[in-house]
Symmetry: C2
Subunit: 335 residues, 2 copies
DNA sequence: CTGTTAGCGCATTCAC
DNA sequence: GTGAATGCGCTAACAG
């Protein structure tokens, strides 16, 4: 099943078919329709490998900082799936393997990538962006809370996600809601906090200073935060942790103190990583379609990697859809 | 930098270079040496994409059952890395997306894969193996504890891994060691139990029936198991859980009961999944090089996918190396 | 043992 | 608008 089979079937030349496939502008509607119909009837799928021999393989680099991130597998799934589809080569580079993130970037540049996907916190790193720009390598920032207008990005609306969860908690009847913040160096942390605070304010609910505690997106930091919060004289009836790892830690501490979840304490997470459905009770959390987002990021990156020097085309900014996943860790407050 | 450049540099034809690259047997040592030298000097790297146009892309399927498995990301990393290197196409198929595993296999077969990588428990499933055989698709079993001699496999020695951990616990001075078993339908569970029991017996240590409790490799099952074990009049001083998820659950329950880890209770896991270094205290566990193993599995599978019908060549069985990773969850017993 | 010929499936180039 | 020729980098199949 090749281009030529389709061409013969449609009664045109292979070039016309090729043009239709590649969305070439100047084709008569008649020819395009015939070709499309033949493609449909024959079930033709373009051969990405063969195509790559002519166009050259678009190489796109993927940097990642946290090898244990629970999102990593979903991220890789999506990224590799898309890479396979469009026939581009992915170079995965763990920054942890290098003394500095800049060295990791340098390695990717030397390898000849045309674009790089940058998850947080790298995507907010001006130095790295500068390095990339100097080498003429296009960046695609992934999951930043504050996408720069100059940089193509795929992200979620962290503010809105936090707001959704806060609304859920409020709707359940909670009034004393505490927040465990994320790593302050990630832009997502502040956006999530803002979403939380804005929603609380809008509902006319106060947020005492003691109810907002520092965290670092790690399980361990969640342990500390939870001890602080649950040791308070006036304990919150719900704790919203800025990610699932910290929520899991809150859950463990609550267990340890003999506080029943969710009857005595509601716990909410964010991200819907595997741990959310691993622990018990399973966490109510905000789901982001990481695999799809990764696929989109790779697609955009591959596009940028191809056209060498069209610097002045508009940057694209994709916002992925969030969903509130209600599981067993949240319920109406006790009283 | 192509084959021809190398050929010219070495003063031979491109075919000779091609043959050297592909380890063709009948080449004079003189020619081979010249070519190798030129490749070295020119820094030539074969173009996997171009190669694939001639040989056809070896398609290898990967089935997986548990989308949340913490090992998944390491597995995918290794698998995709190798696939990219050797230019083969990976078709990932989650069995969960199908009513039965058999349907997932059927889909892969229809897609035209030449070989399939089968993680547990699928690799021990005779029905699936039969299906594959009927379609002439080669299986590669991944991480089975009981590799069938007829099936190419990449695995670890579960017995030895469990023995290593048990020896570590004994060396620390523990005598009352309990085991949380894994899912009885996985062959790894029984091999790990056997390794544990054999080592205990060898050290002259008794294993009371109450010290071996059922688990299912899930966090939740670990919760139940831990409650059982820690509720015992004579509490074990160390608990060896058959995987990290269950060990994490044991840790949470211990926290909940106010039992200090590791001073009052040592906890050991198996697999070295991300959760092991996420929770606190971090888990002592057995590390298996999942990414390397996955890469090997894909390589073997791609080889099998290529040669269509050489059924009678010997099956390869690769055993990966295990390492004991000592972290903070184990220590000498209290008394 | 080694070289020649002939494409793989597609896209670029330049005709028409 | 459309098509014919040409070659990407590599390797099967054949000749030597």
């Amino acid at each position: 099943m090749t281009l030529h089979d389709v061409a013969r079937h449609a009664g045109v030349s292979s070039m016309t078919v090729s043009r239709v496939i590649n969305d070439y502008a100047f084709i008569s509607e008649a020819a395009r329709a015939k070709v499309l119909k033949s493609i449909e009837e024959l079930g033709y799928r373009p051969n990405a490998v063969a195509r790559a021999t002519r166009t050259g393989v678009a190489q796109v680099g993927v940097l990642y900082s946290n090898p244990n991130s629970s999102n990593l597998s979903a991220f890789l799934m999506g990224a590799f799936r898309k890479a396979g589809e469009i026939g581009c080569q992915l170079l995965i580079e763990p920054t942890a393997a290098h003394p500095t993130p800049a060295r990791a970037v340098a390695k990717l540049i030397e390898a000849g990538v045309g674009a790089v996907v940058l998850p947080p916190p790298l995507c907010d790193n001006a130095k790295i962006l500068k390095l990339l720009a100097a080498a003429g390598v296009a960046p695609v920032s992934f999951a930043t809370a504050r996408p720069s207008p100059d940089v193509t990005s795929v992200a979620i609306d962290d503010f809105e996600g936090a707001a959704m969860m806060t609304r859920h908690l409020i709707a359940l009847g909670h009034v004393d809601i505490a927040l465990v913040r994320g790593d302050p160096s990630h832009s997502t942390s502040t956006r999530r906090e803002e979403g939380f605070r804005a929603t609380m304010a809008q509902a006319g609910l106060a947020v005492p200073d003691a109810y907002v505690v520092e965290g670092a997106f790690t399980y361990r930091s969640g342990l500390t935060a939870a001890s602080q919060l649950l040791g308070l004289r006036r304990r919150p009836s719900a704790i919203f942790a800025s990610n699932d790892d910290m929520a899991a830690a809150v859950s463990a501490v609550a267990h340890g103190m003999g506080i029943a979840v969710p009857t005595e304490l509601s716990i909410a997470g964010f991200d819907d990583t595997p741990v959310a459905s691993t622990i018990w009770p399973q966490l109510t959390t905000i789901h982001q379609p990481i695999a799809d987002m990764a696929a989109t990021a790779v697609e955009l990156a591959a596009g940028l990697a191809r056209r060498d020097a069209d610097d002045d085309q508009p940057r694209r900014h994709v916002l992925a859809e969030l969903t509130l996943v209600v599981r067993q860790s949240t319920a109406p407050p006790a009283s």
